[in-house]
Amino acid sequence: MMLALEMFRSLPRTVAGKAVGSRLPGILSGYAAPLRLVTIDAPVVDRPGWARLKTRLSGICGSDLGMLSGQTSLYFSALVSLPFVPGHEVVAELLEDCEDLPAGTRVVVDPVLTCAARGVEPCDGCAAGATNRCSRITVGDVSAGLQTGFCHDTGGGWGQQLTAHRSQLHVVPEGYSDEQAILIEPMACAVHTALRAGVRPGDRVLVSGAGSVGLFATFALRELTGAGEIIVVAKHGHQRELALALGATEVVAPREVLRRVRRSTGAFQLKPEFSSPYLLGGVDVAVDAVGSKQSLETALQATRAGGRVVLSGMPAPADLSAAWFRELEIVGTYASAHADDAFAKATELVAHDAVTQLSKSVASYPLHRWREALDHAHSTGRLGTVKVAFDPRSTQ
Amino acid sequence: MSGFLKGTVDDVRTVSRGWRWGRRSMVPRSAEEYVLPARSTVFPSDWSRKRPAIAAREVAQKGGLEPLFRSQVRTRVEGLDVLDRIDGPVIFAANHASHLDTPLILLSLPDEWRRRTAVAAAADYFFDTWWRAVGSSLLFNTFPIDRRGGAMATTPGEVLADGWSLVIFPEGTRSQDGWMGKFRMGAAFLAHEYDVPVIPVAHRGTFAAMPRGAGWPNPGRRQLTIRFGEPLRPAEGESVRDFAPRIKDAVARLLDEDATTWWESRQRASAGTTPDPSGPQVAAWRRVWAQTESPQVAEEPSGRRLAAWRR
């Protein structure tokens, strides 16, 4: 038996969350979240390559919050198996040997449940190494679930134990703190984002959002691509400092962004009737690292004709006129692919001073204080933390 | 809303302090040389001689001023018989030593005279703020005259022409030490111009009771005396310049009479030895000392006291 936070099916809570979740996250963490602290059997998958892990630290991701507040599209409802234990950013240690890894090894989990983990023949995506594009994520040895943390059978990071397949495990090198290691998974996504952005040397890049996704994307773009100017949109003062430390050329407030992009690119600004202004001209690549309507539209409005808009956050519905009229390439970027060697690169990146520094601000909570933790995670931008995590080992 | 009210209170307070509401406005010292020659900001007083104001004044004088006045001072009034012999309007020309002078004169007059008597008051003192103007007009029936000789909204001539008697203090200001000062020509001029008689009025004891600078009569119901004299008219062909000294002499003689007797004062007047009303040329303190003594009222022959005039 183990202690875990469990996401369950609750129509009233989901509806309530949808109604007020984005505005009043307090209500969400208090009453409306379809989440509960339960004692359940530890998950076991009795298949080759699977092993049990003891969670050391598990992050709260923006997609988790979206899911809990019912903001996530119902599109994803077919890709999960309720009830499940959330948590896909996981640092854990093996409770038993797993193929070549001895028990006690500290690992981070690549949460994507690919063909290899499911014990089925590799699909086209997996065969090509694009594991994040796996098309068998609902079948095989474990129940449906796009990732660990959305799947009933595997368990997730927000419980004391979970199971994972050998293909998902990446050993954390000696000398890395747990707080550093917890940033490897989001950083791996950022690496993937940076590679997907198709930045050519000297390109101007706009990163809309300075939460963990935006900050890591900025860092990955700076480190892995030849991007010239990187303009980061940040709401809060401390995000500004972080963004600059992580490689942004300029940091602007959301209401300034269009004007700033216009100024630095010499674009023309137009103001259509009854809606927000946009540019003719603009940056070469825009990364939406928030997923809100406003953020996505900003990215669309500030990108030059023929430029690329990268969807790094889970996108909300937005006006796509610019994508059509300006012939924008809209590129999704989801999780990370084996072929990118994203986890290896990310492990290197989190060793950088700037990120090490950032890892010191990771706030961890025991499971029973989950309401507090969610509340905190909702206001990370304002409070100056980048990552909030659960530490299921801790009791207070 | 409460913020607005508080702001309003603050602003009004700032302005009332800064602009000295109810007091005379002040000019910063360094700005004095740039002040425009004062356009008189004298408040009109015509209304105070209209019927409603007369009625209000009657109530104020009879119900408020008189009881208050009597409670603070004792008076002895002499010579009112002259008023029986003439018709108004007249000019009462009196010496001036105190703010008590005006109520003393007014309250000494018979009611029918009092109701038709106006008091000339310095425009620059009594008419520079609205409340002072209204207060003094209502209580004392004052109207403004300019001590420096400027044009006024209402001229004394118009007041006289309307049939009002005037109280004028020809000294123009209250005495510094209780002794009489120089008389100006105003009263004589008006009498000459409008052909009205001048009734000299002499009173004593007001300086002792409430000198310049005091805000209230001294305690102890001080004695005041007032004496009305024979009406004076300019003689045929007599100039203002000649007439004015006669008024002063008459007041001086009345003062002498008030202090001694009618007979003695007449004798001294004939001999030209009426005491100088401006007092002896001695040290200032002695002049003040002499005047701080209230007049002694001896027990009088009862025949002289007319019940009708008793106050």
Binding site: V252, A253, E256, R259, R260, R262, R263, G266, A267, F268, Q269 | F4, G7, T8, D11, V12, T14, V15, G18, W19, R20, S25, M26, V27, P28, R29, S30, A31, Y34, V35, L36, T41, W130
Partner: protein
């Protein structure tokens, strides 16, 4: 009768004094001993304006009478000062319109057909038709505007600019082609303050960025001491060099007018009176206005103030040769505005009002407020600044009006991008000026919309360069703290706080001088 200006020394008899602060004013009790400089009262005005105009045109200074300069078949261009003058805009009829009517009457008599009327707005925003009409009057507007012969000067219209060469110091002279190629250029000016007019009229009003950049820059502005005194102003020296060359190319007939100090009409005239002379009615008007403003929403306050039209009167008009005319003009301006002040002080206090030259019918954004306070008002001196070197300036303005997107698009970027990086005029000028000046979008908005030129906010900042160089401390009373710090200054709630903050620079009992402005004044500091 008009009394001269004078310096008041605040004593225990002094009532609180009016200090303007944007869309409002406050009553401030200054510390005892504070010197307050009051401008002279309005001079007597010209009894018959039409007669005075006729007289000036027929008997000009150092020039032939205007009728003898007009002939059939000539090209005549009339240029006039734009809506940045006078402040506030004057009640109809505007004096410029009346003069232009007289000039046109003479031109019609002489049979001149080719006439164009140009607003000399340089890099200022294009005026709307309504604004043009207010200045030139209905008759002129109707006769010229629909035909396109009454228009705003366009300093970015390359085809219609003429390069007249360079001065001996290498300054480019590029002005309106039409003006340069005219047989006669008549310039109609309103000389509100001492910096206006003279060679500044044509040489700056009808010039392009290429020409303006030679004198509108931090180096020149720091050496213009002050720009209200053209003999000691490096900017004017440059304009004079340019003007003398223009004079060789095109015949200029300069008409300059001066106004009295009648800035506020009834019932707001108490704002021009000396406070201790306020009547009860003035006090009541003031209280009513102050309380009204305190509850009025910003938009309403903006409307209330910006709808005011000044009942200015004409104190004089001179016409003829530029420099001779300007000599006379300055004499009149000085008579109206000059106040002698003995010695400098540690602290200078200035109330920044709702209006400056560049926010007519627009909003006083933080940059314009800075320009108004540290630019125009600080420089309202002759001989030496009112405040000593290393002293402090205390300004009143809430700095909360925000930016007008229509009129000041480049200001927003200047504020958000440039000032965030540096507030040093020299640094700003070197790094950003060219980018802004050549930004296509700003150009486009300047030419087709009603936007100030992209480089204009830089000029505003340069205007304040001399003040920033001269004083050590700038504190805004009642200002938004965030905005003040973006501008590189500090904010205080009250004058007492501000003096406390400044005590590190000027000590705990500094000498203070407050310029009681508006109406306009020019401190002659001995």
């Amino acid at each position: 009768m008009s009394r001269p200006g004078f310096v008041l020394e605040v004593d225990d008899r002094t009532p609180p004094l009016v200090v303007h602060e944007g869309l409002g004013f406050r009553l401030e009790s200054f510390p005892l001993g504070t010197r307050v400089v009051y401008p002279p009262e309005s001079l007597p005005t010209v009894p018959d304006v039409d007669e005075a105009i006729r007289e000036a045109l027929l008997h000009p200074v150092d020039a032939e009478p205007l009728p003898s300069l007009l002939f059939s078949g000539m090209r005549l261009t009339i240029a006039f000062d734009d809506l940045s003058l006078p402040l506030p805009s004057m009640k109809s009829p505007d004096i410029r319109g009346r003069i232009i009517e007289h000039v046109l009457t003479l031109a019609a008599e002489a049979g001149v057909d080719d006439v164009e009327i140009v607003a000399a707005n340089a890099l200022h925003r294009r005026m709307t038709a309504g604004e043009l009409k207010h200045i030139v009057g209905e008759r002129v507007f109707r006769s010229f505007f629909p035909q396109g012969q009454l228009y705003n000067f366009d300093a970015e219209d390359r085809d219609n600019l003429a390069h007249l060469g360079t001065t001996e110091q290498g300054e480019d002279i590029e002005i309106s082609k039409r003006a340069a190629e005219s047989d006669l250029l008549v310039y109609v000016n309103v000389n509100l303050v001492a910096m206006d007019g003279g060679h500044k009229s044509v040489g700056i009003g009808l010039a392009s960025y290429k020409s303006l950049r030679h004198h509108h820059n931090p180096q020149t502005m720091v050496h213009s001491r002050s720009f209200m005194d053209h003999k000691k102003s490096a900017m004017h020296h440059s304009a004079w060099r340019i003007g003398r060359i223009i004079k060789d190319t095109v015949k200029v007939f300069q008409i300059e007018t001066t106004l009295d100090n009648n800035v506020f009409g009834k019932p707001y005239d108490f704002l021009m009176k000396r406070e201790w002379e306020w009547s009860v009615r003035d006090q009541a008007s003031m209280l009513a206005m102050k309380r009204g403003l305190s509850v009025a929403p910003q938009k309403l306050r903006h409307k209330l103030f910006h709808d005011l039209r000044a009942p200015y009167g004409l104190t004089g008009i001179s016409a003829g040769e530029v420099e001779a005319v300007h000599e006379q003009t300055l004499e009149r301006v000085h008579r109206q505005q000059l106040v002698e002040v003995q010695g400098q002080s540690d602290v200078l206090v200035l109330g920044v009002p709702y209006l400056g030259p560049y926010n007519v019918n627009s909003s006083m954004n933080p940059i314009l407020a800075t320009c108004m306070g540290l630019g125009y008002y600080f420089n309202s001196y002759r001989h030496q600044p009112v405040v000593r070197k290393g002293g402090a300036v205390i300004l009143y303005h809430p700095l909360n009006e925000g930016f007008n997107q229509l009129h000041h698009p480049s200001y927003v970027d200047f504020y958000e991008e440039v000032l965030a990086e540096s507030t040093d005029p020299a640094v700003i000028s070197a790094k950003y000026e060219k980018q802004f000046a050549e930004d296509e979008w700003y150009r486009h908005l300047y030419r087709t919309s009603h936007a100030y030129h992209g480089v204009h906010p830089f000029y505003m900042w340069y205007w304040a360069a001399h003040a920033m160089d001269h004083v050590d401390e700038v504190i805004w009373v009642g200002a938004d703290r965030k905005v003040a710090s973006r501008l590189g200054f500090r904010a205080a709630t009250t004058l007492q706080d501000a003096l406390e903050m400044a005590s590190g620079t000027v000590g705990s009992s500094p000498s203070i001088t407050y310029l009681h402005n508006p109406p306009h004044l020019l401190a002659d500091v001995r």
